[in-house]
Amino acid sequence: MSFHVKVRSFLRNLFLSRRVETDLDQEVHSHLEMLIEENFRAGMDPDQAQRAARIEMGGVDQVKEQVRDARTGAFLDSLLQGLRFSLRKLRKSPGFTAVVVVTLALGIGANTAIFSVVEGVLLKPLPYPKPEELVAVWLTAAGLNIRDLNPSPADYIISREQNRTFQDIGLYKGYSVNITGLAEPEHASGLQVTDGLLPVLGVIPILGRSFTRTDDSPGSFETVMLTYGYWQRKFGGDRSVIGKTITVDGSLRQIIGVLPWDFRFAGPDLAILLPLKLDRTKLFLGNFSYQAIARLKPGVTVAEANADVARMIPIMLRSFPPPPGYSRKMFQDGRIGPNLRTLKQDVVGDVGKVLWVLMGGIGLVLLIACANVANLLQVRAEGRQQEMAIRAALGATRGRIAGEMLFESFILALLGSVLGLGLAYAGLRALVASAPTGLPRLNEIGIDGTMVLFTLAVSLVASLLFGSIPILKYAGRRLGTGLREGGRSMSESRERHRSRSVLVVVQVALALVLLISSGLMIRTFRALTRVDPGFVAPSEVQIFRVDIPDTAVKEAERVVRTQEEILHKIEAVPGVSSVAISMSVPMDGNGWYDPVLVKDHSYAPGEIPLHRYRFVAPGYFKTLGTRLVAGRDLTWSDIYNKVPVAIVSEKLARENWHDPSDALGKQIRSNTKDDWRTVVGVVGDVHEDGMDKEASNSVYWPILEARSESNDIDVRRYVTFSIRSPRAGSESLVNEVRRAVWSVDPNLPLADIRTLDYYYKRSMARTSFTLLMLAVAGGMALLLGVVGLYGVIAYSVSQRRREIGIRMALGAEHQDLVAMFVRHALGLTGIGVACGLLAALALMRLMSSLLFGVKPFDAVTYGTVSLGLIATAALSSYLPARRAAAVNPIESLRAE
């Protein structure tokens, strides 16, 4: 009825409080005067009149207080009063406030930063409508020992036509393209998609239309869609772009649509989408190299979808012919099964483990920070015992005193979290910059409303944690104790000391756990860097890629000639010691595993020996610094004469022929249709898949082959050039190399210009990121722990001055006194270390999947960290303990 009236008076009470107060004051006073006047008229003398009026009135201030209590928002008023009171108290001790706020800001800020990463990467739903319905369609091949097998076109077609659980399914594949005719020739990243993909994701183009089944049909007009970024970059956001054409890989394509800006499907560099034209009549089984996303029908579970796909796999195997050289039985022996999972699981992958470990570590730091603050608050509460005892004696309830103390804690936590948010904002930028390149959903990390709420919740919990400890100890104390003890300071009672000691023990234990975890990561990192990658000095190898499309050079041998010509041009660049051509380089994520059959070797049914394939030209091993163990490198005449030769890695040679030199002259091939190829060389093992993976058993084929992999002539058009030069990574070298390439063909764009070191570092990025974060957390924990210990010993020294004085007067030596305090500190540290070791033994198992070359219970790490912590504790207690020796016995006994 009168809601707006209430709101108005609430606001008036809140903002015009001074005017409301004066008004009330005047009203009450005028009332009093009228009462006096009334009495006076009734015949009382002035004194009597005044007295009677005051009796009836019952105290001007009390009346005013009663009115205030009746007003709207009275609760808020008393809250504000409490706030003012607390702030005044905190302002009075700026040192204490600053230390507490900064400590909390570090703890809370670090938690907010890491949590925003956890939230952005792990918790936030994917940016598509009804993301829970989306599944990544993967297969598995138990017979080939492949856990994640990509789906093939045959799978896609059968799934689309015969599934019972999908609304629809879309197939796609990354596809790099040369775009010419705009300005400079450009190598861009594209995606081939079937028409189902965008509708499955729920993505609607902001301009034009999506692909249709017509676009997907073989023989239809070639079309293309642009990403928002590419549209802005190349066309300046021109809306008339629809219907225009661009040249992709030498052929004209019509632009039919532009994707929205928040379409972040395959990385920020994605430029164009092309329709994936599958010709059903020409499809074979196999080609498991695509990716697929399906949208489940409402209410369908992933398990049901998996069962559905399992049902369709035999249909798929029946519906298409095997590729030449393969039998249907080989596919059946592969024991292909479904391995669908939610799209989110697929996107996030195994990074969750790292993030939760970090979150746990940073949580520990906050606990340590809270322990420190609790200690400081206790010291403060101790100093205010007398004040509290007096107030209790005057009738303040325990609840009221406890409430005030808690309120103060909350204000401290709030101040800390405001500063912490600032720190988190700054820290997050550094964190995102140092995050491993493989960290998914990096662009979704940020400080938003959820983060502010999280920070607030953390500060509330933290303030309850550290605020309740002094309350439990002091607010409920019996009256007499505080008054009696406060009157004259005696030597500290044991009881008072205990809770502070417990906090120090907890701090030491938590810090030890964190330091052990970062110690294990350091050992992991060192183990990784000590592994021989199979190449040398990766920072001195410049890498780039060039694609020679068949619209530029048709004939296979001419392609290799062009590549060799480029190679020689680059060799002439000053500072370049050698140049190599290969299809890919170690750890770049390209290349694949395929069968390698050895002559005169019988294979068990279903056994398919998979090996890492590489395609190289002469000079590859020399340029990368890979050892030649036996035999020889390829020669250009091998290449051009298509001599059937191959090079194998030492590991493969040992597996098949025990001794590397025995491999020479042996014959291998990739399938029964191919020619046998003679092994002419054996080279050192290379960690092709990353430093934390085992070295591969690889086969190196020439970049130009006859009758290989079921093709008459097999040539690698898209190759990587590796250049060994001390100038690698410099802009000037890249410019000279670019000129060298363009002197051969000015239409060839250079792509993926990096050093080999980039891939080497990237393969260790997860370890180095975890290491960095845990080291930061461990460092903070150590610092806070040391400060905590220092504070406790320093306070203990200051409280025990009388005792020290007495001991000195009785003849104690200085070093005995110092030793007494250090012993005390070491005793606490010892208990803390023992607890920490137990906790670490229980917790480090969680980290085992992040470790390499070191056990989760590595004695060296545990020992070193424990000793280091004890030494630090000794030092941090020695400094304040020395002050005990400086006590003047006469002064300390006379003091107070």
Binding site: S2, Q26, E27, S30, H31, G59
Partner: protein, 110 residues
């Protein structure tokens, strides 16, 4: 004091204040004396109860206040019944009627 009792007494005081203002605006003391008069001296409302009630009722929008001159040329704060207050008086009167009837019934049955 339990919530119900407070409501009952508060309701009574509100009712008396509203009733005392029906003949026109009054200041605090005037209201107090008017209540004393119309209840035959049974109710003497002390400032400690009166002023909180007045301020609360003003916030409810039942009465409005303004500064004026008293009969003896003093500055005094006057209260006046609003339209909502008039409605409220009606509601309170009915409620009170129900209560007294119920109490009387209760007392008559033996």
């Amino acid at each position: 004091m339990s919530q119900d009792q407070t409501n009952l007494l508060q309701g009574t005081l509100d009712l008396l204040i509203l009733k005392s203002l029906i003949a026109g605006e009054r200041h605090g003391l005037g209201i107090s004396r008017r209540i004393q008069q119309i209840t035959g001296g049974t109710f003497v409302v002390k400032p400690g109860s009166l002023f909180p009630a007045l301020h609360r009722m003003e916030e409810e929008g039942w009465i409005s206040s303004f500064w004026g001159e008293s009969e003896n040329n003093r500055r005094a704060k006057y209260y006046r019944l609003s339209k909502a207050g008039l409605n409220q008086l009606e509601v309170e009167t009915k409620r009170w009627g129900r209560i007294t009837w119920a109490i009387a019934q209760a007392l008559e049955t033996s």
